[in-house]
Amino acid sequence: MEKPILQIENLTTSFKIKDKYYMAVDHVSFSVSENEIVAVVGESGCGKSALALSIMRLHNNQRTKIEGEIKYRERNIVTISEGQMNQIRGKEIGIIFQEPLTALNPLMTVGDQIEENLTFHTKLSKEKKRLRTIELLTQVGIPSPTRTYDQFPHELSGGMRQRVMISIAIACNPSLVIADEPTTALDVTIQAQILELLKSIQKETKMGIILITHDLSVVAEVADRVIVMYAGQVVEMGTVKQIFTKPLHPYTRSLLKSIPSQATNKKRLHVIDGMVPSIVNMNRESCRFSPRIPWIPCNAHEESPELHEVAPDHWVRCTCYKHFYFKGLQRGEITNGIT
């Protein structure tokens, strides 16, 4: 087992809405090791991005409360000062955002925006910084790096901008990169290229990656471990193999069943009824997924659901997985979710 770079213990992020705090990330714990890709999946509004921004402490701190521990190399970064945090942001932990169209400053050249990172974290001379930036642009597969260096973001395509974002994130060789839905805004062919790129960079730098996505095909392709989040909580956690071959939690199974597949000629896609509850009015006591599987009897759920280790490193919340079946199928009929 490699030593973890990042260890998150009971991380709770609450947002202030009308003078009250509501948990968007609810006691989440996991760790990321060197050379590992941990995928965080879930529908929109499950708290995935809130989690990513909490690790970087990029939330508006007037309206956000972060509790628990985020240990970066044994050091709790929840409590350190903003100045100390700035030494970690960009240098130790990089982040790639999902919207490459708006995530770059429209008034600054691409080169300047990458160099900024080097300016604040290294003592490189002007010329060295320029060389390093061009090297980065080459590394992320930009065809004419010296030209792109002087271009503005609006002159680049979405895929190119995402590559620029990646080069900003990796400029200082961070040991952890958080990729917050890096491929969501891109078309499918570019998505594959970006994922390939992330993997190849990882091979060179041995960095850990937290990949936040709602695209399960992406997860199957690149991730080592998977964390399934629902309504701010971790509902299932395990290796890619465990999650894809033996999914347990009803939510995980529903998600996997919702993947359109060419192999089976099903006419209709599987749809999970209802939607993710809002953080303001959500029943936090019982199993949070229960309103969306009303055909499962109440006594199948735990009183206040906990994570259970069902196999080594495979965790599931609540007991309802033991009783779950898809509506329309007979109880006991074998289904692993990937039908």
């Binding site: 970087m56 990029l58 508006n60 903003e82 100045g83 945090m85 700035n86 030494q87 970690i88 942001r89 960009g90 240098k91 990089g94 982040i95 955002f97 919207e99 708006t102 995530a103 770059l104 400053n105 429209p106 008034l107 600054m108 925006q113 900024e116 990172n117 604040f120 974290h121 503005f152 609006h154 974002m165 900003i168 994130a169």
Partner: protein
Amino acid sequence: MWKFILRRFFVMIPQLFILSLIVFALAKQMPGDALTGISMDPRISPERIYELREKAGLNDPWYEQYGRWISGIIHGDFGKSYTHKIPVTEVIAERIWNTVFLALITLILTYLFAIPMGILSGRYNDTWIDKIVTGYNYLGFATPLFIFALIMLFVFGFSVGWFPTGGSVSSKVDAQTFEYYVSKLHHVILPALSTALIATVGTVQYLRNEIIDNKFKDYTRTARSKGIPDNKIYTRHILRNSLLPIAAFLGYEITGLVGGTVIIETIFSYPGVGQLFISSIGLRDFSVVTAIVMMLGFATLLGTLLSDIILSLVDPRVRVE
């Protein structure tokens, strides 16, 4: 770029033409003409007045009068002022620099107030400093300039006596000396300050909202994710993006100021184009009035052109061809 500017100048021709028609029509609609005043004089016979009108071409149909007027303008001749008995261009030339000077000082003061206030209240929004600035803004929006200017004139001109109450320069100093320029500045400060204190609120509010808006933009988050200290985030990222619309608005701001001097010059008896405009209306000196309106119209068009040019210089996304 030059092609763009040239093209914009060509577009101005029909705009100015339409403006000239409207200005002329409005001037003709006003009761009386330059000879109305002397027609009250019993020593001058109505026949003589008629003769004078005939001589001045005031009895001709409007299109003939308009034709004479517009062809004069094309040749740079705005006609002769009836009251000053000299060409209109000379009357305006005597005063235009006073107005330009006043407008310039006002503009400088406006931004001198607006930029720090906007930055402070935008950056520290919802704190006491922001509340003071926004409170000032509401007051500024609610205060009519002509009342505020009168109060300023009364307090600092008459009561305290720090500033002169009229004119553009003291009569005791010789032209072209150092004292002369000091005196000019001394005369311009009170009217400029009065206008700036009121005119600044629009820019303050705009800048404040831009900063608050940009604070939560995605690119700002990207910048913060690089570990850049807060101060640097403001100077390098937020300010540049927030000042962009302000810079682009500069051209319009100038236009507004030139128009605004009409009131302020009258209140402060400042001999500029604005004051000339008001007095010429009173005297029915239409050749001066129409010339000033045409000039203001041209300044407006120039202002919008200037705004477009500034925007294309500061925003890489806007390129004019």
